[in-house]
Symmetry: C2
Subunit: 76 residues, 2 copies
């Protein structure tokens, strides 16, 4: 979940400004967003994935200012 | 960047508690963390990747309570 490109991201800008002062170079932009890990038991069915999309859209993100992506990661 | 497993995550727990009230089922745990997108120009060399690791460890994360992973994603 990341702030939309047209949304100001003061936290990302603060990190971007701090990098050269700390000796890090080569980064031209930083955006700060959120990451949610949802643990699921059982198989990832298309229905479940649709439900996770609905959660991300209605509960986890603010669709006015944020975009999100859903990624499935098998647990080790 | 995610809170370590032994660290309490009240935001994640709040989301977990809200899901059934909103009609979502099948999620057994939720953890909330952060996501940083660093935009780089040029090639991702091993040196650059090592530097991004150092940034994540020293500036972006709090290694006492958080773990992090670095992933390279080509821009579209």
């Amino acid at each position: 979940m990341m702030p939309k490109p047209e949304i100001l991201d003061p936290q990302g800008k603060a990190v971007l400004g701090a990098l050269p002062r700390l000796g890090f170079e080569g980064v031209v932009d930083v955006r700060q967003g959120k990451r949610f890990e949802l643990e699921i038991t059982g198989d990832v069915t298309p229905e479940l994935l649709a439900q996770v999309h609905a959660m991300a859209e209605t509960l986890l993100s603010n669709p006015v200012i944020e975009t999100f992506a859903v990624r499935v990661e098998p647990t080790a």
